[in-house]
């Protein structure tokens, strides 16, 4: 879920992030209007696991910032998404908000909040050399990063590390999520999918 960006009053942009923060996000991305610092929160990612350009921000630090500027969040539970949609409709911030998820469920939640969807972006199948694609279980994980910065080889490598008990599934999911700089990767879903995947070998 993302929104609350440019063209919207700064106080409303901050309000948008406040609403996201209230409903148990497992990932959140925003920035400070004043310092222009970008914050990335991913559940389970602590500072000790920072590497390269990937720096984590604790939720407390984000909550303490008074000049937040829109952003996005990832949720692991649809009840949380429903609650966010309801609160955003009631808040009437005037900002575009986009939700990625199962259309029927998102539209139902929106209807319950008293609104109809405005525009949708649907995906047809994948065409062309589909024989080049990795196995479906790996693809389910990698496609959570729309830019595909989480490589299929990294998923396979980390699955091996978890299988050999050199790493937990939680830590492996965080390592994958770090590579998704836009921060839309669902770390909780990745952990579940990874656990399923390694049970096959």
């Amino acid at each position: 879920m993302g929104g609350g960006g440019r063209g919207v009053d700064p106080s409303k942009r901050a309000k948008f992030v406040e609403i996201l923060l209230k409903h148990n996000p497992v990932g959140l991305s925003t920035s400070d209007l004043e310092t222009r610092r970008r914050f990335r929160y991913v559940k389970g990612w602590e500072g000790s696991k920072d590497s390269g350009i990937h720096k984590s921000a604790p939720l407390e630090e984000i909550k303490a910032c008074k000049t937040l500027s829109g952003g996005s969040a990832v949720f692991a539970n649809f009840e949380d998404v429903k609650a966010v949609i309801k609160e955003l409709v009631e808040a009437d911030l005037g900002a575009s908000v986009v939700v990625s998820g199962i259309f029927d469920k998102v539209h139902e939640a929106l209807k319950e909040a008293g609104k109809d969807p405005h525009t949708v972006n649907m995906s047809a199948e994948t065409f062309g050399r589909v024989d080049l694609l990795p196995e479906p279980k790996v693809l389910e994980i990698t496609t959570m990063c729309g830019h595909h910065m989480v490589s299929s080889n990294l998923v396979k490598h980390l699955a091996g590390e978890v299988k050999e008990e050199r790493m937990t599934a939680e830590a492996a999911a965080v390592e994958m999520a770090k590579q998704c700089t836009c921060n839309f990767f669902n770390v909780e879903r990745a952990r579940k999918l990874l656990t399923e995947y390694i049970s096959f070998f």
């Binding site: 575009s96 990625s100 065409f127 062309g128």
Partner: protein, 251 residues
Amino acid sequence: MVEREMKIDESKCVGCGQCVPYCPVGAISLADVKAIIDEDECVECGECQKAGVCPVNAHVRPAWTKPGSTQMPEEVPRVLRYWWSDPQGVFPWTGIGGRGTQEMKTNDVTGRFTDDVVGIGVEFGRPGIGSRLSDVEKASVRLAALGVSFEFDSPWTHIIDSETGKLKDPRFGKERVLSCIIECKAPMEKIAQIYKALMEVAKEIDTVFTLDIISKCREGRILVKPLLDEARIKVRINGKTNLGLGRPLIP
């Protein structure tokens, strides 16, 4: 030394192989106890360096010219790889980061897609295969022949002739990117023709593409859906929904 491609400094590399799995297109391998990058396959996303897993900082990234400065001729066409493959890369002619635009994400504000229009996004190389721009051009030419309107702010539109869909510079065709989106729109009744043309392109390319279909909704109905059903175009059960909470620029 000024690099023109992503490199791994051979004198520093200790051959630990830690960076190898991070490459989204599998362009890094170990040879003679050193990691090497296949420069033809590399898409210049910089992910191997950004991951920060190299214990000796052996990855050397080109210092691409910043937007607003005069592009150094020797950077073109290689720099196209960076613009399309690194989400933090800023396309110089639009000043927008990433490979595409806001498409339907702000449609409640901009009104870019109206009731009788369908938006099309053809995402080449995705997921995770990468694509030569020559393969993208094949679809672009077919779409242009159908009279679609290419999105002005989309990076792809800036490197093609909008009338023919062809690349302005034939050298661009060999460049390889992690993914590239053709963004356009057309009257809704053309969706079946567009789909058919893209299915023909699918047989001619050496990569994959996904097809995004953007439509407005009215009273909970997706306006293009009856035409998709009629043409037997299957869409996934999930996708993006603009909730319509933005204030229209033109009420």
